[in-house]
Subunit: 108 residues, 3 copies
């Protein structure tokens, strides 16, 4: 099991996305967040099909933080059941992975 | 092997992407599709380099459906050899993963 | 370990992204690159939080090329420590995976 992951979260608004991203970076739960604006999301919910505008958040962090990240993101997120999923980073530039590691550890 | 995946498909037009997405959701082959508009794709095809506008589709489903999803997406897709790839979801919010599971199982 | 990966790189400018993409495709280090424009990146760097506009590059290639790809992308990239990470492709349309394979092997 590799120690680093990307975490994907979708949300309906760029400013909410930026707020959540900033809180998670400040709490050192993630090293960075890329927010892709204006994606179109098509999904089924309680038997109906929806076609809505969302943002896609792509976070980079350490796998052992996923539990805490999940809890914090869920608390900040307006949805009842938000998309919060993680994919394993298989390889990466060593200096970049070190930066993810340092950015997600408390200073003291 | 984890039971959930994201599936990535690229296509040259947003309305075609939305149509394919809706069919796959209605058929319960995927729970949801995020469509990223106006990406720029640079690739080589039969010895020539192309630089074209596409959309990126990110689908969430169960891994055991990938064969059926691949067949259905290929049939609906205008390209000779479309990009249809899957990445394993390593972890996720349990309620969200349950929703993917329920949304991709026939009602009766 | 599956033989194919997607590689994610972020960069601050679309034309730089397109240039790097073209060089990597010409060198047969990647089969294709999708560039997502105008993403918003929130991250911490040397104790400060930044909120900046970037592009997201998603490349498809063979895993055994990641070392060479990493070196080439780092040389072309303006950042001191660029994001260069790889995720394993778990499954894919066989014809598409073959195309990735052929597109990343020297002709002679």
């Amino acid at each position: 099991m590799n120690p680093f992951i990307i975490c994907i979260v979708t949300i309906d608004d760029m400013e909410k996305a930026a707020l959540i991203a900033r809180v998670l970076v400040e709490k050192k739960l993630v090293a960075c967040v890329n927010i892709v604006p204006q994606i179109r999301s098509i999904y089924s919910w309680k038997g109906q099909i929806y076609d809505e505008s969302e943002c896609l958040m792509i976070m980079k962090t350490r796998r052992e933080l996923f539990g805490k990240l999940q809890t914090a993101a869920k608390e900040l997120h307006p949805y009842e059941v938000p998309e919060i999923i993680a994919l394993e980073i298989a390889e990466g530039l060593p200096a970049y992975l070190s930066w993810i590691d340092e950015s997600t550890r408390p200073k003291f």
